[in-house]
């Protein structure tokens, strides 16, 4: 170990090494940017294609070699798309379901997370473990039974039939209602878990101090915990709204009528039952309209979405 390395570094060598190093560094940076920009272009291309196609007229869209910039910009496609797919109703339905389910879901999530984070009672840990265990089961497994459940909620419909009560029948028959789009998904174990972890980071002393001062649980929750957990709550809100926007299979199964159809399902339906050639520019315009709100939300609340998503791993 005592023999030291002999450094025979000459001036010329150093300069050469230096120059090489600089070249390598620049080359690497150029390569990095080039690669990233190409990938970014690939990633963004479908959006670009959607936008340019949505303002082309059918004849231009059908040119043998498609134009990368429309020769003539036609905004009429958007109007047509709006009417063809009945987007107005779809929007308001989706918004309604999104808002109501988000508010209710937030209330339940906050209260449940609070209980698991702050209160002590027998069976708490077992209960929480049971809750977490349900996260492992894929949602597709629930669909089969839930489909039956909502057709005859708690047997109310059968009961109503026997008692001759229309109100009970209506209460038991959730098909083609907004309820069926909202209630089954109100409890999200993952959000409860997320929020509970957040609540746990708030020092317990604050809670004890509040207790000493005679603050009620609810008031403490409202005045202390919710403000401190606000970023998580915002993330949950956005993800839940995105969920309403993107949900497809369940709404298609249980609320596929005009009055309750949600946007994704509506879009798919509108552009598969059309007769004759599919008018792709109009279809692209519809897709653009449907995509726009999510993009706007993303632009303004990017931070919360990315934070929420990186922790959840669930789409919607």
């Amino acid at each position: 170990m005592t023999d030291q390395k002999n450094f025979a570094v000459f001036e010329a060598d150093i300069q050469k090494a230096q120059a090489r190093q600089r070249v390598v560094r620049i080359a690497v940076q150029v390569f990095l940017y080039l690669f990233l920009i190409i990938m970014a272009l690939i990633v963004i291309f479908p959006f670009y294609f959607m936008l340019i196609s949505s303002v082309k007229d059918l004849a231009e869209y059908r040119l043998p070699v498609q134009t990368l910039w429309p020769n003539k910009i036609i905004l009429h496609n958007y109007i047509e798309a709006f009417h063809t797919a009945n987007l107005g109703t779809l929007f308001s339905n989706t918004l309604y379901v999104g808002i109501v389910s988000t508010i209710l879901s937030l209330i339940i999530t906050v209260i449940t997370a609070f209980v698991f984070a702050r209160l002590e009672f027998k069976g708490k840990n077992a209960m929480f473990a049971a809750l977490l265990a349900t996260m492992m089961i894929p949602g597709e497994l629930f669909t089969i039974t839930n489909y039956q459940t909502i057709s005859n909620f708690l047997g109310l419909r059968t009961l109503g039939r026997e008692l001759g009560s229309k109100d009970l029948i209506a209460l038991g028959d959730w098909k083609n209602t907004f309820t069926v789009l909202i209630v089954p998904f109100l409890v999200s174990v993952f959000y409860i878990y997320l929020l509970r972890q957040n609540f746990l980071q708030i020092p317990n002393e604050l809670y004890l101090a509040a207790k000493v001062d005679g603050t009620s649980d609810i008031k403490y929750l409202w005045k202390v915990m919710i403000p401190l957990a606000l970023p998580t709550l915002i993330s949950i809100t956005i993800l839940k709204m995105m969920g309403a926007w993107n949900s497809y299979m369940w709404p298609r199964l249980v609320a596929n009528d005009e009055a309750h159809r949600l946007i994704t399902n509506g879009l798919r339906t509108a552009f598969t039952s059309v007769e004759g050639d599919v008018n792709i520019p109009v279809q692209m315009a519809a897709v653009a309209i449907v995509s726009a709100p999510l993009f706007l939300v993303f632009v303004f609340l990017r931070k919360y979405i990315m934070k929420g998503v990186s922790r959840s791993g669930i789409k919607g």
Partner: protein, 477 residues
């Protein structure tokens, strides 16, 4: 104490939230049509699910008023439940919870499905009943059908009520459609062409049309499933047994006709609905001849005549449409499919309810005025022979043309081939068979020797696969 009460209230509110939203949502979302008011003593309510659009609902409402003049105590509550599949799915779920309607639009395979739960009332007893009912206007009628009434039904349509393999009658025909051949009359007349009556003529015609216009597709066929089944009927080859315990369609004759039409398809003679990507070929037919890929003929449902109108945006017509029967294998023994809804009555604990439903169903199917008006509005065929003699209807039919009057023209053509209608057997799984032969056509037609090698072997495999799936679904595999 006060805190305790508040907490309790809170809990109740939270528990009630889902239910509250259930009701509030319905209020906000328009909710369901649950009828108005409670029933009075002695009244019977009949719930009727159908697929009628607004125009037809108006006709229906008009005749419900008529019906109620005769039977004021039978309250009819009707509802449009989307399309035929929606009706089927809705009723299937409702059967499992015992909340099915009294009366519904149905196709034979729907009835077969409902009958897994023995939910549909066999009509034989009711038909043969001689019980005399006194109506509100003082007149009487027998509960059952009189022989005259039975005879007035177009035979094939009436026979459709008993295609379930057990000899029982389950449905009454409501309004019927069939497949007809729409053709570009303007073009045909200009070029001295006549629409084909046989498939052989069709083949010749296709060649000719391609000579005249190499960019065209001579004809379109909407439904692959109908295509297959109709060919079986026309050729007299087996399809399925009446009870569904045997799937017989995999035979040499059937493979041969599939192979024949495949070669047509390869030559570009025709296009089908699913293969064109949009379920129907009417979009191709209604193109002007100058447009790429237009069809000069289209075999589609007579009920879809409205979609076959080659209308410009300004309301003018690109060409005049002609309508005729679909090509046959043997013109002397023509076969055309009978489609369109029938009515089925669901069994209920209360015989009075069933009886009331029957009376209403009978009214709709045997009332000439209703049948005529319904047909004129929808373009569907009436199910009664005597409608042809209905003065207004007859006059309208007479005046029908290939432009605005297209719907009536189809009805006219459809009625003229009354002797040719057939209905394939219906059983639990008959819809699978239908789907499977449709899928078979969909996969077999685009095969080419160039791309897929041994086409015959491929077709054989497709047949075998379709049989396997039918059997699998029926639990036979």
């Amino acid at each position: 104490m006060k805190r305790k009460i508040i907490s309790l209230l809170l809990a109740i509110t939270l528990l009630a939230l889902p239910l509250l939203t259930a009701t509030s949502c319905d209020l906000l979302g328009g909710g369901k049509n649950n009828g108005d008011g409670e029933l009075k003593e002695g009244q019977v309510k009949v719930v009727f699910y159908h697929t009628m659009g607004e125009a037809l609902r108006t006709v229906l409402d008009k005749y419900i008023v008529e019906f109620n003049k005769l039977y004021p105590d039978i309250i009819i509550e009707h509802k449009q439940v989307g399309g035929y599949d929606d009706v089927r799915e809705q009723i299937k779920t409702e059967i499992t919870v015992g909340d099915q309607p009294n009366l519904a639009y149905c196709y034979p395979d729907h009835v077969a499905a409902y009958n897994i739960a023995y939910a549909v009332k066999p009509l034989d007893e009711l038909i043969s009943s001689t019980k005399v009912i006194t109506r509100a206007d003082g007149t009487t009628e027998t509960l059952g059908l009189t022989q005259a009434q039975i005879d007035d039904f177009i035979d094939a349509f009436y026979a459709e009520g008993a295609v379930y393999g057990d000899g029982k009658m389950y449905t009454l025909p409501m309004s019927k459609s069939t497949e007809v051949l729409y053709y570009n009359k303007t073009f045909f007349d200009a070029n001295g062409l006549v629409p084909p009556t046989t498939w052989d003529e069709m083949e010749v015609l296709c060649e000719k049309l391609l000579e005249l216009d190499p960019d065209c597709i001579p004809f379109g066929y909407d439904s692959e499933g109908n295509f297959f089944i109709t060919m079986c009927e026309q050729l007299g080859t087996p399809y399925t047994s009446a009870t569904g315990d045997l799937f017989l369609f995999d035979n040499a004759e059937n493979r041969a006709f599939v192979e024949k039409f495949r070669s047509w398809y390869e030559k570009g003679y025709f296009e089908t609905g699913e293969l064109s990507g949009v379920s129907y070929t009417s979009g191709l037919f209604t193109k002007a001849p100058a447009e790429e890929g237009n069809c000069y003929m289209c075999i589609g449902s007579s009920g879809g005549a409205n979609h076959q109108k080659p209308k410009n945006d300004d309301g003018t017509y690109k060409f005049e449409v002609g309508i005729t029967s679909i090509p046959q294998v043997d013109p002397s023994n023509p076969k055309v499919i009978s489609q369109g809804p029938s009515l089925c009555i669901f069994d209920k604990a209360d015989p009075a309810e069933v009886e009331a439903t029957w009376l209403f169903a009978k009214f709709l199917t045997t009332n000439v005025d209703f049948q005529a008006e319904f047909s004129m509005t929808s373009g569907y065929m009436p199910v009664l022979e005597s409608v042809k003699d209905h003065p207004v209807y007859a006059a309208e039919l007479e005046a029908a043309n290939g432009k605005e009057g297209l719907t009536l023209l189809t009805a006219k053509v459809a009625l003229e081939q009354a002797n040719a209608y057939y209905t394939s057997p219906a059983f639990n799984g008959s819809s699978t068979a239908r789907d499977q032969v449709g899928l078979l056509m969909q996969q077999a037609l685009p095969l080419t020797a160039e791309k897929d090698g041994d086409v015959a072997a491929k077709i054989k495999a497709l047949f075998e696969d379709a049989i396997y799936k039918c059997k699998y679904d029926a639990g036979l595999q």
